[in-house]
């Protein structure tokens, strides 16, 4: 193999594909990256057999070929170079990296041993989602995913496509976040899957800054996200392949409150601020009390710690409902919900200390966050 690439593109590609490299595995080769040069493209690929990443960029290939190298040493070296482009060449079992000032030889592994990363075939059906929308939606719900080993079916983000509406849902059984995205173009009539939390996180960090559309190839056991920007050849062509979580997602719609006893429209940043202040005195249980008061036209947030002291604050807002109602919550849950909302104002749907409370943008938007109170 012999090729010339832009140093920065290679660096970016390495740091992205490195995410899929297996940290420790029975198969040592999985701790490496496969470089393959063919046509006018250099492809970097890595996998830990749960998730796989392929990164393709333009390169001047003089001799096609493949090589497997440890990613860390290569990316660390690239960071120290100052050239615009670098030459890569293989000799027997070594990779020689040539720049104006450095000549580096890196030991390699046999490319024949590297796993074959499954890829969508020509003609496989797919649909497209707007990248910023998908990434924004995923980042809003991904933090809520349950960590329990005992319930694998909620350890991922639930994708539920119905008509032109795609719902991204996550829950850890104490709270639940749902983001609705409208999909344009041709889509399958109905489709659901449970995407592992790790893949969701990787997707948002890899594609977070990108524009355009991502193609989604779905099969019952795996999914491929393909990003290709044909207008801008400087952009890489990325494929993220992931296994899906097997299982049936709970029928979460049944959990969504049908109605609220009280509603409060509040300034989001101020509300978050009040909750953070109260959190200082929330103690180990993380418990803060929220009281929605119709007469006072506002919400009181308070907390009390036996050792530290107490805090109470009032935030005026638009209240609908009768009298007042109060409930205690884990402040982290409330704060995380509020942080996922970008709008200026939020609406708090309140059911007192028994039913779930809801946070949503105001005026109503495409995001819903449900949280259960702490039992008094």
């Amino acid at each position: 193999m012999k090729t010339t690439v832009l140093r920065n593109s290679l660096k970016e590609g390495l740091s992205t594909t490195e995410r899929a490299v297996a940290k420790s595995s029975t198969l040592p080769i999985l701790g490496n990256i496969l470089l393959s040069a063919e046509g006018a493209v250099l492809e970097l690929a890595a996998t830990d057999l749960e998730i796989g990443i392929r990164w393709r960029m333009l390169a001047k290939n003089t001799k096609p070929g493949r090589v497997v190298v440890p990613p860390r040493v290569l990316s660390q070296l690239l960071a120290l170079l100052s050239d615009q482009s670098v030459d890569l060449q293989t000799t027997a079992s070594q990779l020689v990296l040539q720049s104006s000032e450095h000549t580096t030889t890196i030991k390699t592994l046999d490319p024949e041993e590297f796993p074959v990363i499954p890829s969508p075939k020509e003609g496989d059906s797919f649909f497209e989602i707007d990248v910023p929308l998908l990434c924004q939606g995923l980042s809003q719900v991904v933090g809520v995913v349950g960590q329990s080993q005992a319930r694998p079916e909620i350890s991922g983000v639930f994708f539920c496509l119905q008509g032109k509406t795609l719902r991204l849902v996550a829950t850890d059984s104490f709270r639940l976040a749902e983001r609705t995205i409208t999909v344009a173009g041709s889509v399958p009539k109905e489709w659901t899957c449970i995407l592992p939390q790790k893949t969701a996180r990787e997707l948002t960090s890899i594609l977070g800054e990108k524009e355009g559309k991502v193609r989604l190839y779905a099969s019952p056991t795996q999914v491929v996200f393909e990003y290709k920007n044909e207008d801008d050849p400087a952009q890489p062509h990325v494929q993220i392949i992931s296994r899906l979580i097997d299982g049936e997602y709970p029928q979460y719609q049944e959990v969504l409150p049908k109605d609220y006893k009280m509603r409060a429209v509040l300034d989001r940043a101020e509300f978050l601020n009040r909750i953070k202040a109260a959190s200082l005195f929330a103690g180990k249980s993380n418990e803060v009390r929220v009281l929605v008061d119709e007469e006072q036209k506002g919400v009181e947030v308070s907390s009390r710690s036996q050792d530290l002291g107490e805090n109470a604050s009032f935030l005026a807002g638009e209240i609908t409902g009768k009298d007042q109602a109060a409930a205690s919550f884990n402040w982290r849950f409330l704060a995380e919900g509020l942080s996922s909302i970008r709008e200026q104002n939020v609406q708090l749907g309140f059911n007192g200390d028994e039913g779930p409370a809801a946070l949503m943008p105001s005026p109503a938007g495409e995001f819903l966050y449900i949280v259960m109170p702490i039992k008094a």
């Binding site: 029975t26 057999l49 024949e112 074959v116 499954p118 005992a150 059984s173 097997d246 959990v255 702490i374």
Partner: protein, 451 residues
């Protein structure tokens, strides 16, 4: 050679040609899915393994298999969804009350069985009032479809029927005695029938219910008057029963007392074991109270628990409500409630039942119980099916409200006071002879007070 043996023999050979790391990575969790007409389908856990085996090891695997089975023509690989294979059920142990953070309840309910793992035999308090029902449920849980089939449990509101039924289901599931279990409320079953009829999917609906090992239907009294649902239930029952499936029903009254249920279904209900759950006695109430208080980590004086047990007699759910109140009191005031506090706290709960009972209420409940209209009871009809309920209503007015005979007579369309006297005496006499009547009146009383 069976396909398992064949694959084992193949793996035994392959291990000499593949490095241990590769062997462990690529051939883990593989097995022969099917073997037909010289073609073998190998199931692999993921697409990576599939690609690898197809591209790298296919020749080797084919050669090895061919040596063992000369008939072989080809090998293909497929990714199986794990659920297609029997899989160990993972249940998290239930963290009861340790963590005050509440969960979104419905998520806990198992989607296929519809069982809520919160209900177990371990947290079911047994007393003389529910001993029989508990023993029957326990025997069934140990050994479904062999001892009591069907089991019919009945008893009043909030006495633990649902808990017992769910515990039975959970036990069977957790111990792995049977795997196909379904818990449905009568409402869900009815809704299922209606949807099936509307969508013309009756066949699928039937199939879904007839492939079950243990079917639990809660609150069957609501099937009253729903003929098509009853018919479906009847057929489901027969099929399940013939296939050796266990069936469990619950209701708020004995089968005989459920109005508007077809005779053939009624006789099915009565065909197995009928167990009732009565009112808990004082000692059991005390035991339940203490165990619940312990769960909630509330400590109160003995006098307080005794006071509560003595005053809340008819409903365990109500008892739980009181405990929640006590717990809230502790939390708010940072001390355990004394006798005086308890009396104030319970004022609403304890007094309300007596207030709620009125002549109107009794007449209404009796009418409803016998599926009559209130005005029938009051009218001058002497039809047998009306006379009896009317006598029972008179008896209850006398017993519960201490109404005078002329007053009672007057309430029922201006009848003479002697009619009322006769009715009360008649019922009193029958009560000594008929267990059935005792039960019926017990149930009516319970509805008057719980309702």
């Amino acid at each position: 050679m069976t396909k398992e043996e064949l694959w084992q023999a193949t793996l035994a050979q392959l291990q000499f040609h593949i490095s241990p790391a590769n062997f462990a990575t690529w051939l883990k969790n593989t097995f022969i899915l099917s073997r037909k007409d010289g073609g073998i389908v190998v199931s692999v856990p993921n697409n990576f393994s599939k690609e690898w085996l197809e591209n790298k090891y296919n020749k080797m695997i084919f050669k090895t298999l061919r040596e063992l089975d000369p008939e072989l023509k080809g090998v293909t690989y497929t990714v199986e969804k794990a659920s297609a294979r029997p899989q160990e059920r993972s249940f998290s142990p239930i963290r009861e009350k340790e963590d005050p953070q509440m969960e979104l309840q419905e998520l806990r309910v198992d989607k296929t069985t519809r069982l809520n793992p919160r209900y177990t035999f371990d947290n079911f308090v047994v007393g003389p009032f529910n001993e029989l029902a508990h023993a029957a449920a326990w025997a069934i849980a140990k050994n479904p479809a062999s001892v009591y089939n069907p089991l019919f449990v009945y008893g009043g509101v909030g006495l633990g029927k649902t808990h017992l039924l769910q515990a039975l289901g959970n036990h069977v599931l957790l111990e792995g005695i049977r795997s196909r279990i379904k818990y449905v409320s009568s409402e869900q079953f009815t809704a299922g029938v209606v949807t099936a009829i509307r969508n013309r999917t009756v066949e699928e609906f039937r199939a879904q219910y007839r492939e079950i090992d243990v079917l639990i239907i809660d609150d069957v009294q609501f099937f009253a008057g729903k003929d098509k649902t009853q018919e479906e239930l009847f057929h489901t029952f027969n099929t399940l029963y013939e296939n050796g499936g266990q069936i469990v029903f619950s209701s708020d009254r004995p089968p005989k007392a459920i109005p508007a249920i077809e005779e053939r279904l009624k006789s099915r209900f009565e065909g197995g074991m009928i167990a009732d759950i009565g009112f808990p006695d004082y000692e059991t109430r005390l035991a339940i109270l203490k165990s619940k208080l312990q769960e909630k980590n509330v400590s109160v004086e003995d006098a307080v628990t005794e006071y509560i047990a003595a005053h809340i007699q008819r409903n365990i759910r109500e008892l739980e409500g009181v405990i929640t109140k006590l717990a809230a009191f502790c939390l708010l005031n940072n001390r355990s409630p004394g006798m005086a506090d308890t009396k104030t706290l319970l004022r609403g709960v304890i007094q309300s039942p007596n207030k709620a009972v009125s002549v109107k209420k009794i007449v209404q409940v009796v009418a409803e119980f016998y599926d009559l209209k209130e005005k029938d009871l009051v009218a001058a009809s002497r039809k047998k099916e009306i006379v009896r309920p009317r006598q029972i209503a008179m008896y209850l007015l006398r017993e519960e409200l201490k109404g005078s005979y002329p007053f009672i007579g007057n309430r029922f369309g201006g009848k003479d006071h002697t009619t009322a006297i006769y009715a009360c005496e008649k019922i009193n006499k029958d009560l000594q002879e008929s267990e059935m009547l005792v039960e019926e009146i017990g149930l009516i009383r319970q509805r008057i007070y719980s309702g």
